[in-house]
Each structure stands twice: as C-alpha cells, then as structure tokens.
C-alpha cells in the first residue's frame, strides 16, 4: 500500500512536444503529491506539487492533473525543451512529509 507506480519508464519527444508521465498510488492517507526532476550526478529538485483538494495545478510549463477517485496523478510538460531532458520522479506522502514514497522514475529525452 506504500507503493507509487509510475509510467512510462522512458520517454522520447521532439522539442515542443508535450510529454505526459503518469503515477498511481494506493494509500488513501497520502495527501501531498510532488514531482521531482533529477539530472545526472545531482539530487532531485522539487518541480511542482499538489494536494488532493484541487484537480489541477500549473506552474510555468509544468502542470499536474490529479484524479482523487482514481488515485492517479500526472505531469504534463508544455513546449518541452532539450534542457528538460532528465529523470522525473513522482512521490507521495502524508502532510508534513510523513511516509515519503517515490515512484521508480521516468527518463525523459527531448530531441532538438
């Protein structure tokens, strides 16, 4: 019940495309859902996060869509750029960072 599933494992898009990464969770006690971006040799960095009281949140080119009934959430990257090439992790936790669980990651490549 602690697991967070993530797909696809890898994704290749052309510059300007809109990659979509999906995640699913089981534990209904989770109420904080962040997305992290990680470049090789670096620690993950928070991109955007959402709580289950809203269905969508947008920050710049990044949008989270959240479906509470389906226990799923997804990341959309608008107008993707080669600099967005990185590994993306979804995560889930209880509020105040309890029981933090990461998905297995999606390696995104944006071709110029």
């Amino acid at each position: 019940q602690q697991q967070v599933k993530q797909s696809p494992q890898s994704l290749i898009v052309q510059k300007g495309g809109i990659p979509i990464i999906n995640c699913a969770y089981e534990n209904t006690a989770f109420d904080y859902f962040p997305w992290y971006q990680q470049f090789p040799g670096k620690g993950p960095a928070l991109l955007i996060a959402i709580r289950p009281d809203v269905s969508e949140k947008k920050e710049g080119r990044f949008t989270i869509s959240f479906n509470k009934s389906a226990k799923q959430f997804s990341l959309h990257i608008m107008d993707s750029q080669p600099g967005d090439s990185a590994t993306y992790f979804c995560a889930a936790s209880k509020w105040y960072g309890q029981n933090f669980v990461f998905g297995p990651g999606t390696r995104l490549s944006v071709l110029p």
Binding site: Q6, K42, P44, A49, Y96, G97, F100, V101
Partner: protein, 111 residues
C-alpha cells in the same frame, strides 16, 4: 541560502568494511531525511528525523545501518559492515514543511 551539504561525494570500500556519510542541512530546517537511491530506481527513504528525534526508520536495515542527528543539526549515516548490495547513492534532504531540498549525494561503491 546555502544548500544541503554532503560528504564525501564518492566512496569506494570493500565488503564487510564500515563507512560513514555526513550531512549538513539547510539552516533552520527541522526535518532531515536519508534516502538510498540504487541506480535506475527512485530514492527509498531510510530514516526521517524531526529535530534530533526519529520519526520514521521502518525501512532502515538496523542490523547494519545506523543514523544519528545530535543537536538536531548535522547528521551521520553509518553502514557496518557493508554488503555488495549497499552500492548506491545516499541522499540527504532537509525540509521546511513539505518541500524537501536534496544534497548532491554520496556515491558508494562496495567491491
């Protein structure tokens, strides 16, 4: 604002040896996490501290791993003795409310 500092950045040891990692969190962050990230996988939480108290260590292999956060600031993570499967990047993160800030990690190779 200075980020999360970790040292060493790289460590190579032989199995059955001991190793320790150090983390200095962002000033004022009460919450500190240690994660293990095996190549190609997401970070796995090992232990979470709130100030100098342990909040969650349910996934810490306590027969060989230990961690402490004396005085509620710096933290050390120790592995004794190391096994081949401990080869991974060990990430430290500190948090203000929910937002976690990660350090660069320590890459451990166990031969």
């Amino acid at each position: 604002e200075a980020g999360v500092a970790q040292s060493p950045r790289y460590k190579i040891i032989e199995k059955r040896q001991s190793v320790a990692f150090w983390c200095n969190p962002i000033s004022g962050h009460a919450t500190l996490y240690w994660y293990q990230q095996i190549l190609g996988q997401g970070p796995k939480l090992l232990i979470q501290f709130q100030n100098n108290g342990v909040v969650d260590d349910s996934q810490l292999p306590k027969d060989r791993f230990s961690a402490e956060r004396l005085k509620g600031v710096d933290s050390t993570l120790k592995i004794q003795p190391a096994k081949l499967e401990d080869s991974a990047v060990y990430l430290c993160a500190s948090a203000s409310l929910n937002e976690q800030f990660f350090g660069p990690g320590t890459r451990l190779t166990v031969l």
